[in-house]
C-alpha cells in the first residue's frame, strides 16, 4: 500500500510536469478556436518558441529573456496565421500546416547554422533555466500522512512556469466567462454577424484571440527548452501541439475540462514511460505504443459522438465576410 502510494505520487508528479506544455498549447488553442479561428499550428508555434527561448538563453543567461523571446517569435508566427486567416480569408487549416512545416524547417536549419550542434542549441547552465522552487516547509511536511508527501512531491518543487501555467486555467475561465472581452470572444466564434451588428470589430477580436494564442504557445515552448530540458533539441515538441489539440476537443473547448484532459494525457505519457516492459495484472504486457495511442483514439471516438459529443464553435474555420 505504502509503496503504491509512493509510486502514484511520483507518477502524479511527472504527470504535472508533462501536462504543462499540453496545457499551455491547449489554452492557446482555446482562445483562437473560441474566436472562430482554427489552429492546427499550435505545434509549430510551440516549436519556434522553444527554439527562440533556447537561442536567447544561450546568449544571455536569463530565463525571463528567453521566455520573452519565445513569446515574441511565437506571436509573430501567430500573426502570420492571423493575417492569412483573418485579413486574407485564406484556408485556416492550410495556414496551420504551413506554420508547422515552416517552424520545423527553420528551427532545424538555423539551429544547425548558428551553433553547429546538429540543430541543438548549447546546453544551458542552471542560471539560464527556470529552476525548481521548493515550497516552504516541504520537507518538514512529509511527516504528515497523505497530504504531507503530496505537498512535498506534487505541489512543491516545480519551476515558476508550471505554477504560471496552472494559474492560467482560472484566469482563462475568468476572462472567458466573466469579462466583456470573453463574452464577445465566445460570440464571435458562434455568430460573427451578430457581433458585427453590435458595432464590435470582428477582425480586432479575432486578432486579439490569435495574439493570446501566440503568447501562450510561446510560454509552452519556453517551458520545453528552459524548464523541462536545458536547451532546444530538434523537434522537441514531438507532436505535443497535436495532443493539445486533442485535449481541446476532449475538453469541448472549455478551460476547466482542458485542465483535466491535459492532466489525463500527461498522466498517460508518464505511465507509458514507466510501464515499458512491465507486466500488468489481467492484460499482461501492454505495448508502449498502445498507451501512447490512447489520446488519439479517445479523440477520434469522442469526435465520432460515441461517448458524448464535442461540438466546436459554430463559426470555426469560416472567414468572416461583411455582407455587401
Amino acid at each position: 500500500m505504502e509503496q503504491w502510494f509512493g509510486l502514484a505520487l511520483v507518477a502524479l508528479d511527472s504527470a504535472v510536469r508533462l501536462s504543462v506544455p499540453l496545457l499551455f498549447a491547449c489554452l492557446a488553442g482555446l482562445f483562437s478556436e473560441r474566436s472562430g479561428v482554427v489552429d492546427i499550428g499550435l505545434e509549430g508555434k510551440m516549436l519556434i518558441g522553444a527554439f527562440a527561448a533556447g537561442v536567447v538563453a544561450a546568449l544571455v543567461p536569463n530565463p525571463w529573456l528567453g521566455l520573452l523571446a519565445a513569446i515574441l517569435v511565437s506571436t509573430l508566427f501567430a500573426l502570420i496565421h492571423g493575417f492569412a486567416s483573418i485579413t486574407q480569408r485564406g484556408n485556416q487549416i492550410v495556414s496551420g500546416v504551413a506554420i508547422n512545416v515552416l517552424a520545423a524547417g527553420l528551427t532545424a536549419i538555423l539551429g544547425n547554422a548558428w551553433f553547429g550542434q546538429g540543430g541543438r542549441t548549447p546546453q544551458l547552465p542552471g542560471e539560464a533555466r527556470f529552476n525548481e522552487i521548493a515550497w516552504p516547509l516541504a520537507e518538514e511536511a512529509r511527516a504528515l500522512p497523505i497530504i504531507g508527501p503530496f505537498y512535498a512531491e506534487v505541489v512543491s518543487g516545480h519551476s515558476a512556469l508550471v505554477y504560471l501555467c496552472f494559474a492560467a486555467v482560472p484566469l482563462t475561465w475568468f476572462a472567458l466567462y466573466r469579462t466583456r472581452f470573453g463574452l464577445r470572444l465566445r460570440a464571435v466564434g458562434e455568430n460573427p454577424h451578430a457581433v458585427d451588428t453590435a458595432g464590435i470589430s470582428v477582425t480586432r477580436l479575432r486578432y486579439s484571440a490569435v495574439l493570446l494564442c501566440g503568447v501562450l504557445c510561446g510560454m509552452g515552448g519556453a517551458y520545453l527548452a528552459l524548464a523541462q530540458s536545458a536547451g532546444f533539441v530538434n523537434d522537441m515538441t514531438a507532436g505535443k501541439g497535436f495532443i493539445a489539440l486533442a485535449a481541446l476537443i476532449f475538453a469541448k473547448w472549455r478551460p476547466v475540462p482542458a485542465l483535466g484532459a491535459c492532466l489525463l494525457f500527461g498522466f498517460l505519457d508518464a505511465v507509458a514511460i514507466r510501464l515499458q516492459g512491465v507486466p500488468l495484472p489481467l492484460v499482461g504486457q501492454v505495448p508502449v505504443q498502445a498507451i501512447q495511442s490512447v489520446p488519439y483514439v479517445l479523440t477520434v471516438v469522442l469526435l465520432a459522438g460515441f461517448i458524448g459529443k464535442a461540438v466546436p464553435p459554430k463559426a470555426i474555420g469560416v472567414p468572416y465576410t461583411k455582407d455587401r
Binding site: 547554422a113 489539440l245 488519439y296
Partner: protein, 368 residues
C-alpha cells in the same frame, strides 16, 4: 474584399499566379540562406545543377518526383470534394505494411503475380486506413482534418509496434522486416533500359514512376470525364446543391477518401517495393506533407501536380547536393521552402490573385 467580377483568364490564375507564389516562396527562402551566411544565388545554381545537371541527378529527381505525385494526388482528390486529407503520411505508412504483408506471406507466387498483388496490397491498406476518417466524416460528422491527424500518429504507433513485436527480422537490431525475395521488386528504369539495349546510369527511379503517371492520367479522366467525377466536383462546389441533384455527399466523401488513401498507399510501391525491398520504419519521411504543398501548388489538377511534384523532386535531389556542397544549408532548407510554398500558394493564395486580378481588369477596361 472586392473580388474582380467575371472569370480571370486561365494563363493568369493557373499560370502566372502559382508561378509568382513560388517565386515569392523562393525569395523568402533566399533571406533564410542569407541569414545563415551563405550566397543564395550560388545555392540556387548548385541546387539545379545537382538535380538536373547529370543523368544521375535526374534519376534521383524522378525517384522523388514519383513519391510526390502519389501523395499530391492523394490530397488533391479529396480537395475536389471539398475535404482536406492531411492523413497522407499515415496512409502511406499503411501502404508499406500492405506491401510487406503480401510479399512476405505470398513469396511462393511467381513475380508476375506477386508484384501486382503487392501494389494492390499497398493501395488497399492505404484505402482502409483512410476509410475510417472518411466514414466518420460522412456519417458521424467528425472533421476529417482532425481525424486524419490523429490517424497519422496512430499509424506511426502501429508501424512501430508491428516492426518491434510482429514483423521484425530476428537476426538484426534494426527495426525492419527481413528483405524481400529477389522476384518481389519493381524493376528500376536502368534495368528496363538494358532490355532495350540502352545503358543509363543506375538510380533508384523505377517502374512506379510510370504507375504514378498513369494514376495522374486516371485522375484527370475520373474528375473531368466521368459521372463520378462530376458528382465529386458538385459536392466540392456545393454539398447542398448536390443533395438536390441526387448526389449523396456522404457517399462521395467516403469514395474520395478511399481513392486518396489508395493513392497515398501506393507511394509505398516506390519506396518499399522499388527501393528498400524491406519494410522499414518512418520511410515516408514527411512525403505525405509534401503532398499538401504539391496539391496546393498544382491547384488540384493532375498536370499541375506532376509539375509541382517535379519541382519538389528537384528540390529534394538538389537539396541533397546542396547540403553536400554547403554544409550550413542542410536538407531542412527544403522543409522551409515547402512551408513557404504552402503559405504562399495555399493560405495566402488570395493575396496576389486578387490584387493582380484587379490590375488586369483595369487594363482590360481601359483597352475596351
Amino acid at each position: 474584399m472586392k473580388r474582380p467580377a467575371g472569370d480571370l483568364p486561365l494563363w493568369y490564375s493557373a499560370g502566372l499566379v502559382p508561378f509568382l507564389n513560388v517565386v515569392l516562396a523562393f525569395l523568402v527562402a533566399g533571406l533564410v540562406v542569407l541569414a545563415i551566411g551563405a550566397n543564395p544565388l550560388q545555392a540556387v545554381r548548385i541546387l539545379f545543377t545537382g538535380a538536373l545537371g547529370s543523368w544521375y541527378g535526374m534519376g534521383y529527381t524522378l525517384y522523388y518526383t514519383t513519391t510526390f505525385i502519389f501523395t499530391g494526388l492523394a490530397v488533391a482528390i479529396a480537395f475536389h470534394a471539398g475535404h482536406f486529407n492531411i492523413g497522407g503520411e499515415g496512409q502511406a505508412l499503411l501502404g508499406g505494411v500492405g506491401v510487406a504483408v503480401i510479399v512476405l506471406n505470398l513469396q511462393f507466387l511467381p513475380p508476375i503475380l506477386l508484384v501486382p498483388l503487392a501494389v494492390l496490397g499497398a493501395a488497399a491498406a492505404g484505402a482502409a486506413w483512410a476509410f475510417i476518417p472518411g466514414w466518420l466524416q460522412a456519417y458521424r460528422g467528425s472533421h476529417v482534418v482532425i481525424t486524419t491527424i490523429m490517424f497519422n500518429f496512430l499509424a506511426f504507433a502501429l508501424l512501430g509496434y508491428l516492426l518491434l513485436e510482429v514483423m521484425k527480422r530476428p537476426d538484426s537490431m534494426a527495426l525492419e522486416t527481413r528483405p524481400f525475395i529477389d522476384g518481389a521488386k519493381l524493376p528500376r528504369l536502368d534495368e528496363l533500359a538494358v532490355l532495350f539495349g540502352l545503358s543509363i546510369t543506375r538510380t533508384p527511379v523505377n517502374l512506379s514512376l510510370v504507375l504514378a503517371l498513369l494514376c495522374a492520367a486516371g485522375m484527370w479522366l475520373l474528375i473531368w470525364r466521368t459521372r463520378l467525377g462530376y458528382e465529386i466536383r458538385t459536392v466540392g462546389a456545393n454539398p447542398t446543391a448536390a443533395v438536390y441533384a441526387g448526389v449523396s455527399p456522404a457517399q462521395i466523401t467516403v469514395i474520395v477518401m478511399l481513392i486518396g488513401g489508395a493513392l497515398a498507399g501506393m507511394m509505398a510501391t516506390n519506396e518499399i517495393l522499388g527501393v528498400q525491398h524491406r519494410l522499414i520504419s518512418d520511410f515516408t519521411a514527411g512525403a505525405g506533407f509534401v503532398g499538401i504543398a504539391v496539391a496546393l501548388m498544382g491547384r488540384g489538377h493532375p498536370v499541375g501536380i506532376v509539375l509541382a511534384a517535379l519541382l519538389f523532386g528537384v528540390l529534394y535531389q538538389g537539396g541533397a547536393e546542396l547540403a553536400f556542397e554547403i554544409p550550413a544549408i542542410t536538407r531542412d532548407m527544403i522543409v522551409v521552402i515547402q512551408g513557404l510554398v504552402i503559405l504562399f500558394a495555399g493560405a495566402l493564395e488570395n493575396m496576389l490573385r486578387d490584387r493582380l486580378g484587379r490590375v488586369i481588369f483595369r487594363m482590360r477596361a481601359s483597352e475596351a
